[in-house]
Amino acid sequence: MSLATQTRPLTRREWLLSDRPQSRLQARLGRAYMTWRRFSANRLAVVGLLILLGLCIVAAFADLLAPHSPVIGNLAGARLLPPGSEGYLLGTDDQGRDILSRLIYGSRLTLAVVVLVAIIAAPVGLVVGAAAGYAGGWIDAVLMRITDIFLAFPKLVLALAFVAALGPGIENAVIAIAITSWPPYARIARAETLTLRNSDYIAAVRLMGASPTRIVLRHVMPMCMSSLIVRVTLDMAGIILTAAGLGFLGLGAQPPLPEWGAMIASGRRFILDQWWVATMPGIAILVVSLGFNLLGDGLRDALDPRESGQ
């Protein structure tokens, strides 16, 4: 306390950037602030973040934002209207449904797919990788062999086969994508664990009598998180594209759900004359997956300067 009274009060920035943090909280906030400064210096990454914030807002307030129903159209008076028609900003599809409203509601499906796949695949990969890396020996060999086997598979085709067997639908699409996308996470988690395993602080924890489970869960896994988050973010774009591809082939979300890939498929028939029906959802997919890619690149540069080649 005496220190604080002797010197002039620190500005918030100085408090954050202090190289002698007084508490864990200050250290953590300081680190987060440094990361944020590196991240926000990258304009494209901020654009990516804004796109995704926009996506979340649109998904959350779809009911308020959408001017029309996403599933019930005006078959009599509003079929295949071009963009800019009265009341239909992006035009309508063959069933007289407002494309803008369908896109707005479709953002929920996109977000749901991405989040669900991440929630399923990332922890699986993390546990497999951290366990393999920490245990070593034959456990490592077996787990990594399985991982590599999955890595060598054609992901999209395998996902197709899964969905074909399970039956089309958005839940099955999520399961199929998750099954094929965990292996890279396991590889990353294992690589990180291997570098951590012999570090002094892990040895210290071990000396204090922590069980292997506790070491892996509390001390190893958290350290894998940042590289894992980067990878997951970069994979999101691929997940969106795969989900849209499944939708396009009629294996993902079923009509009348406003899934973007399925919307492209249904607009395909009119592509020559009513180009907007297929074009608009494609732009939506492009923008969102671009957002994830930009954010992922930015996160990688901010969290892991080694990788960015600076």
């Binding site: 062999r145 399985i146 590599d148 086997i149 999955f150 060598a152 598979f153 054609p154 992901k155 999209l156 085709v157 395998l158 197709l160 086969a161 899964f162 074909a164 067997a165 399970l166 774009a237 594209l241 849209a244 591809g245 396009f248 082939l249 009629g250 294996l251 890939g261 492209i264 395909r268 592509i271 020559l272 180009w275 297929a278 074009t279 959802p281 494609g282 997919i285 492009l286 997956s289 671009l290 994830f292 890619n293 930009l294 690149d297 080649g309």
Partner: protein, 355 residues
Amino acid sequence: MSMSDTVRMSGRRRARSRKAVATVLQFLVVVATTYLGLLAVTFFIGRVIPIDPALAVLGDRAPQHLVERTREAMGLNLPLYQQFLLYCRQALSGDFGVSVLTTNPVMTDIRRVFPATIELATLGTLIGALIGVPLGVLAAVKRGSIADQIVRVIGLVGYSVPIFWLALLALLVFYARLKWVAYPGRIDVVYEYTFSPITGLYLVDALWQRQWDVLRDVFRHIILPASLLGYFSLAYISRMTRSFMLNELQQEYIVAARAKGLSEARIIWGHALRNAAVPLVTVIALSYASLLEGSVLTETVFAWPGLGLYITNSLQNADMNAVLGGTIIIGSVFIGINLLSDLLYRTLDPRTRAR
């Protein structure tokens, strides 16, 4: 050379030959287990998952005794592990059953359609590598410049755009509006009966038989889908090339090459790229594999009669034999490509080359 050097050398050589044997063994184990894994997963998809294969063949209103007999004939009443062994034996001998849709053996169908996919993916990868590598080199050398930014944006969009959508738009623009390319399909109906392919790779066949009008027509059909696939592989290849080149350009041997007075062009293409080429081979191989797989989506749009279209058609008709057969074939090609790129890597990099 000192005595100790000589001793070290011969010791190293012996260790190397032992290592070579170990490497070959390791290769075999990898290939065998990967293939086993592929079969196990497809078996799981085909058998353990709800749809009864017997009902799939007979239709779900077949009489009970017929279903029983079919189950018996298909080996469905055997214990699961015996079924799996049977499945493996059949798959390894190329027997994936009969396609419900075409009533041909699946393997016969695949043999017919696969060359179309190979031709498309090969041309796509060629386009991607021939443009992507120079772009990546340019971006790395002119790091931070406008050129670098442009290459980055081209790559980012390639990573983010849905391929089937871009394919639709490309058809709209280049076929419907500009009329630069031919309509979806592989060859004009006019030539369908006059042209008799040998290899199934139409470009090669037309060239071989000196049928120039056919060659032109085939080219007009393939160029759009191949360019699209090429764009996707370009996005990946240019990005990886850039990062490999950046890494190489920081190395000390580049400084040494400059100290020798070499020109920048020689340093970039002769020294840095020669080193970056080692990992790039893997990247190009992987991108080739992903184009084979991506054909599932592109071929649908371009009505390209390849394996991708075959698989999607079968999917929509719940023709599981055909789907699984196609999956196994693509999976096998993946395994083969991985293996090949690994071998190429070893021959390109003197550090891993067995002498």
